[in-house]
Amino acid sequence: MQNRFGLPDLGLGLGLRTQHYEHILAKRPAIGFFEIISENFMESRGRPMHVLERVLERYPVVMHGVSLSIGSTDPLNFDYLRKLKALAARINAPWVSDHLCWTGVAGRNVHDLLPVPLSEDALKHVVARIKTVQDFLERPLIVENPSSYVQFTSDEMPEWEFINRMCEDANCGLLLDVNNIYVSAFNHGFDANEYIDAIPVDRIVYHHLAGHTHKKTHILDTHSDHVVDGVWDLYARITARTGGRPTMVEWDEDVPEFKVVHAEIMKAKKFREAAAKRKEAAYA
């Protein structure tokens, strides 16, 4: 099943990180797409934009933001949105994503992905803002499920219900981060399989996978290690439902050499192939 927005299956991808610039330009590795952090290129005049332009000659590049702050009670920043839209047009981005979170209020940015309460009020607020952003960008916004460390007393529904209703009411796409489900399931004590099974697959545009840091009392979403088996299990479960969606590994701390990150994302191949075979068998 394709996503309902008709956005392409770009296969397996990786984040475009400065540590790998020279390797990517010199070796032109076999990879389906790269993902950039939008904010790092919205004002870039130096090497990052130069590298991005060369990468674009060979690969599709999707945009992933960290400062849209869709859940904030501050007004939307239209200067930011103008720059975001201009960059998307300049690089012909297949899609633009950001997080279900807020990053600050009163004009500040704490540069963290802070969770919104899972309440009716917050849902209404987020949906209205996604619609405004989509109208402005003239494209669907792809929203990522968060990892979080707190639950609020004002929560009124499980996260998957909030996500489903947000997607439906705002008619937005979903970036399903499988590691985030794993992290939040441990931190909040819910069943990750129940979450996976409740997600409407036609809303899923792509997946994030990542490593994390287990602190015993909680798991930190650090993007600093290999993807753990438990996350691969969840990925297999969602891929069996979707038949395979574009997928990328995020590795942002203690970034190893490119071949390590590349090998990590290639592990996803077997799950996608197995899902494709099942799909073929179902139609045979």
Partner: protein, 273 residues
């Protein structure tokens, strides 16, 4: 906009960014959001209480700010103790918090803040070191310009040089210091911590990015003055006359310097009158 959501966000942000200890931060956050402590907002689990769960964000906030500033000011971070760096960053982000979607802007006021920081040992040296590191940040981020090549410079007719103006590339900063901060910065990765003396001494440095590589070159006073005149748009002939009157400049020096600077990618083009 839901009032409770707005108050919740004010509470959470205030607790995360408050520079006081946890108790003080909680009091301030509770007042700001009009909530009766973390338990009014955050559900505990079987491992962590409401405030401990919120502390995860509070701890990460300062760690992220420290990391961002250390990226831009590794020398200052290296010079001071860990404890001092921590306090410096905490004080800085309280006065100059990030208000941009891009964390790269966080450092913009750091030199100014540092220059007035109370109680810091060797403040004069540290401020100059920060000024150099900020200049390097600016050079790194500047736009990509065309670069005047030695071959292009050689094609300019000799008579045209009399009135020619050299246009520097955007990614160039020329800085004068009262301390040998560039020499000191060059040694921060020395495994034996062999650093040059930090005694007051005038030094001059040009930082430039060429072919996406950062470089900085020490200058003599004469070289600095000539390059400064050129960067400010003084025609080459006038700048050379000024400098050639100095007794420390020998015949042929200026031409050799000019060749070095062109080869280092310091100029974008020549404007001939």
């Amino acid at each position: 906009m839901p009032d409770t959501l707005e108050r919740l966000q004010q509470f959470v942000q205030r607790y995360i960014v408050d520079p006081g200890d946890e108790d003080e931060a909680m009091r301030n956050a509770s007042t700001e959001g009009n909530f009766d402590g973390a338990a009014a907002l955050i559900i505990p689990n079987d491992r962590l209480g409401p405030r401990e769960r919120l502390d995860i964000y509070r701890d990460q906030y300062l760690a992220r700010m420290e990391e961002a500033l250390e990226n831009d000011f590794p020398g200052v971070c290296h010079f001071v103790s860990h404890h001092t760096w921590h306090a410096l960053v905490k004080g800085y982000v309280t006065v100059w918090p990030s208000c941009s979607y891009n964390l790269n802007h966080l450092s913009e006021h750091f030199v100014e803040y540092l220059s007035q920081a109370p109680g810091l040992h060797r403040l004069g040296f540290l401020t100059e070191l920060a000024r150099l590191e900020w200049a390097l940040c600016e050079v790194f981020e500047e736009a990509v310009d065309p670069v005047l090549t030695p071959a292009e410079a050689a094609k300019i007719p000799p008579e045209a040089w009399a009135t020619a103006r050299l246009i520097p590339v955007s990614a160039l900063r020329l800085v004068a210091f009262q301390y040998p901060v560039s020499e000191w910065l060059a040694t921060i990765d020395d495994p034996d911590h062999n650093h040059p003396p930090t005694k007051r001494r005038s030094t001059w440095v040009v930082a430039v990015r060429h072919n996406f590589r950062m470089a900085r070159y020490p200058l003599t006073r004469a070289r600095y003055d000539l390059l400064k005149a050129l960067v400010e748009g003084v025609p080459l002939a006038d700048a050379m006359i000024r400098i050639s009157r100095r007794k420390e400049v020998r015949e042929g020096d200026v031409f050799a310097w000019f060749q070095e600077w062109v080869a280092a990618g310091m100029f974008s083009r020549v404007e001939v009158a």
